[in-house]
């Protein structure tokens, strides 16, 4: 069928050069050099970077999915706040949303702790980048001057935040505010609880990175864990302030 042939002829020819997806191959053996050791040597720089990029994309997707969950909870929050119920006795709509009374002091302390943990994690990430050069050369990374155990501090701060959240829930419980008391309270517990559950996931990965040496994990894997969890952790901190803003400005 000549007509089809003509159509395909005008398809764009692939550009030469480059090695990433969507480019014409440069194969080992010809062209000479320019390979960066990414094909034959899986420990090489290129493959490390590519592994990292894979995990980064996966993390971005994970964040998208988590955002969907929190968007849904926010929608339910706003919907439930505005909605009332029809009272059969008085034949009128009544709003049944009891405004939230929050333990602000404790919440602010928790926020500060989470923010601090975000900062220490960023410092941990930066110190790991420096060490990685040594690890790539097969040298045990030396302890650097002024290099505090940032990662361990992040984990401790993460646990502090979780404890602080438990503390907040306890304060509310002692005030007689339970999950089933009122939709406002249900949603406060559910949203903060869901946030805490997601934080536990991040904490688990950080613990893996901290205990990596004991688990005989490669330094590279630890670094990827820290790098990728970093994104997640900052996102959760950002999300926390979003939640805080929601429960503060939309108390009802």
């Amino acid at each position: 069928m000549p007509t089809i042939g003509d159509r395909v002829e005008i398809e764009r020819r692939p550009k030469l050069g480059g090695g990433g997806p969507g480019k014409i191959p440069h194969r080992r053996g010809y062209g000479g050099g320019g390979d960066d050791g990414d094909r034959g040597n899986p420990e090489g720089f290129q493959s490390r970077e590519q592994r990292m990029r894979r995990y980064r994309i996966a993390m971005t997707l994970c964040i998208v999915s988590v955002t969907a969950i929190f968007l849904l909870l926010t929608v339910v929050y706003v919907f439930r706040m505005g909605k009332g119920r029809f009272d059969e006795d008085t034949r009128r709509w009544v709003r049944d949303w009891v405004p939230l009374t929050l333990p602000y002091l404790q919440l602010w302390i928790n926020s500060a702790v989470l923010l601090l943990s975000s900062i220490t994690l960023e410092l941990a990430r930066r110190s790991m980048i420096k060490k990685e050069e040594f690890a790539a050369m097969g040298i045990v990374p030396p302890r650097m001057r002024r290099d505090l155990p940032w990662l361990g501090m992040t984990v401790v701060l993460g646990f502090c935040f979780l404890l602080g959240q438990v503390f907040v829930w306890n304060i509310l419980r002692h005030q007689g505010v339970f999950l089933e008391s009122n939709p406002s309270r249900s949603l406060f517990y559910i949203i903060t609880g869901t946030h805490a559950v997601h934080l536990v996931g991040g904490l688990a990965v950080l613990l893996y990175a901290v205990a990596g040496r004991l688990l005989a994990a490669k330094f590279e894997s630890q670094r990827i864990a820290v790098e990728v969890t970093g994104w997640y952790w900052h996102y959760l901190a950002f999300l926390w302030f979003g939640i805080f803003a929601l429960v503060h400005f939309a108390r009802g």
């Binding site: 590519q50 119920r85 249900s186």
Partner: protein, 573 residues
């Protein structure tokens, strides 16, 4: 190549257990395939029970006895759940996708193999939790696969509403996690592991549909998961999201107040409508692919196909309200949902037009996969034409709770989806199991299934227009409904014949696995990369070799070429 033999050795030295709990995408793909096969057998058996009960309400079924109304509702729920989640959204996406996505992109593994494996084992756990509900006291829940509250939210509302519904919620929660894991792997694989030369616009349409479906899964299943948690809290923690106050159930006033059943419907269908496309987009991808292969012509309008896939995915998130016209809705919202729903007809029509145009003037090879693909197009058109009818609120209010809707979604989603699954099975069987399926049996299977599904579902339109309500177990006492009994009987006979016809498929499948003709590397003379590998695909995939792509995926009958097809990795001309 030394690295290749090393890889082979590494794979063959693995223990049997290690191969079973494998991170190899080919193993996981086959595992998904058999999981869905188990689910479809249970689901089909339940539909048979329901059809028999509708016609002979007092019939005693061997081992089960007489089917009571609550049993009927439980079967309805489980049939829907199994078919929608574990068959239609599992095998075309997670099954064939896990197996063939990396191969078609020229990669030897998924980007995140452990995550993909975890996805499968979570899906298996989810399936087991669901099937356990058959044997717990009270049996499975009866609130339908949509689990509308208050029925699903109050344990006292029925025998299956206690433990059975809890198990349902846990099972589907696990399924959400499984789908999210699997979809993440798909997306990263598609973005990062395309081999050199495999540009976006050189991906086979199957890969495009798996990609778009994964995006839908990523956005939709998280929503369902959160909604399930809220429903679970309503059931066990005393919250009131979905249960209104003042309800008296089984003689007792419920303790909830102020919840909204409509809220659940919005949340569920915000997931539920994309879910329809999660089920049907991979089926569309497979159909586009196969029509081109067997018509020996390039896909007509490749770019339009990609655009239509994306458009359907995007529009799919804006139309959930059309499931709720009868639930009560602001007319303005109803109008918006109605117009957007009708708008989906545009990309769908583009696809249908392109399928027909792909076939037009081709040197068609009438193989079983082609027959099933053409069957898909036929069923998609038949089922699709009732879509715009149901998209009109005024018509939908009359038709929504009748068999008309049953006919609509079974034709367009269930049967069309199933036909694509069949065509994919016949087509990729040599690549998955190394042997060919029997063509003669395949053709027999096709004709029985095609006529059977039309005979089963076409008369349901008539039932619906005549006002036969759906979901009820026994309406023999209602005069105008009882008058439709002969047609119902015909449908049941058709259903029995159709399901019996599937035995041919099962025989063919298992017989061909052991005794079928050995397949060569490229039995269908197809251009995509998976056919450059021997059949079945060796564990190491491409091994140390990385394919390079110089051609589009559908270069058939190109003038000047030696054969009537050009492999994607053939040298550039």
């Amino acid at each position: 190549m030394s690295s290749s033999t090393q890889l082979t050795n590494a794979f063959t030295s693995q223990s049997r257990l290690h191969r079973f709990f494998s991170t190899d995408h080919k193993v996981i793909g086959r595992q998904y395939f058999f999981l869905s096969l188990a689910a479809v057998l249970v689901g089909a058996w339940l539909s048979l029970l329901m059809r028999i009960h509708l016609v002979w309400p007092k019939a005693a079924i061997p081992f089960l006895g007489e089917i009571k109304p609550e049993n009927y509702l439980a079967y309805l729920t489980m049939h829907g759940t199994l078919m929608v989640f574990f068959v239609l959204s599992t095998v075309p996406q997670a099954g064939f996708g896990t197996f063939f996505l990396p191969l078609q992109l020229g990669a030897s593994k998924m980007a995140l193999p452990r995550l993909t494996a975890a996805g499968f084992w979570t899906a298996l756990a989810s399936f087991m939790v669901l099937t356990i509900s058959f044997v717990v006291p009270g049996g499975p829940g009866g609130a339908g696969w949509t689990q509308y509250p208050p029925l699903s939210a109050i344990s006292a509302a029925g025998p299956g509403q206690g433990l059975g519904t809890d198990l349902w919620l846990v099972s589907i929660g696990l399924f959400c996690l499984s789908s999210l894991m699997s979809a993440t792997g798909f997306l990263v694989t598609t973005i990062k592991l395309r081999c050199p030369g495999m540009t976006w616009m050189r991906m086979p349409l199957t890969c495009w549909s798996w990609f778009v479906t994964s995006i839908l899964i990523l956005l939709a299943f998280g929503i369902l998961l959160a909604a399930l948690v809220l429903l679970m809290l309503d059931r066990h923690a005393g919250t009131s999201f979905f249960v209104p106050g003042g309800l008296v159930i089984s003689g007792k006033m419920v303790g909830h107040a102020g919840g909204s059943p409509l809220l659940w419907q919005h949340l569920f269908w915000f997931f539920g409508h994309p879910e329809v496309y999660i089920a049907v987009l991979p089926a569309m991808g497979v159909t586009s692919h196969l029509l081109s292969v067997f018509a020996r012509k390039p896909v007509f309008g490749y770019k339009a196909m990609v655009g239509a896939t994306l458009a359907i995915g995007a529009l799919g998130f804006m139309v959930w309200g059309h499931h709720m016209f009868v639930s009560g809705m602001n007319p303005h919202a109803g109008f918006a949902f109605s117009s957007l729903t009708t708008a989906i007809a545009v990309p769908s029509a583009i696809k249908t037009f392109n399928w027909v145009a792909t076939l037009y003037g081709g040197k068609i090879r009438y193989t079983t996969p082609l027959l099933f693909s053409v069957g898909f197009v036929s069923l998609f058109i038949t089922g699709g034409l009732t879509g715009p009818i149901l998209a009109q609120p005024s018509l939908d209010i009359y038709l929504h709770d009748t068999y008309f809707v049953v006919a609509h979604f079974h034709l367009i989603m269930a049967m069309a989806g199933l036909f694509a699954i069949f065509s994919a099975t016949y087509f990729w069987f040599p690549k998955m199991f190394g042997r060919m399926m029997n063509e003669r049996l395949g053709r027999l299977h096709f004709w029985i299934t095609l006529f059977g599904s039309y005979a089963t579902f076409m008369p349901m339109h008539l039932l619906g227009i005549a006002g036969h309500p759906r979901r009820y177990s026994d309406l023999m006492g209602v005069q105008y409904v009882a008058a439709m009994a002969p047609l119902q009987k015909f449908i049941t006979f058709a259903a029995i014949v159709t399901i019996a016809g599937q035995i041919i498929f099962l025989v063919n499948l298992f017989w061909s696995m052991r005794k079928g003709r050995l397949a060569e590397a490229n039995p269908w003379q197809c251009t995509t990369l998976e056919w450059t590998l021997p059949s079945p695909v060796p564990p190491e995939g491409y091994g140390g070799r990385e394919p390079g792509v110089n051609h589009g995926p559908y270069e058939y009958n190109i003038s000047g070429a030696k054969e009537d097809f050009i492999m994607q990795d053939a040298p550039a001309t």
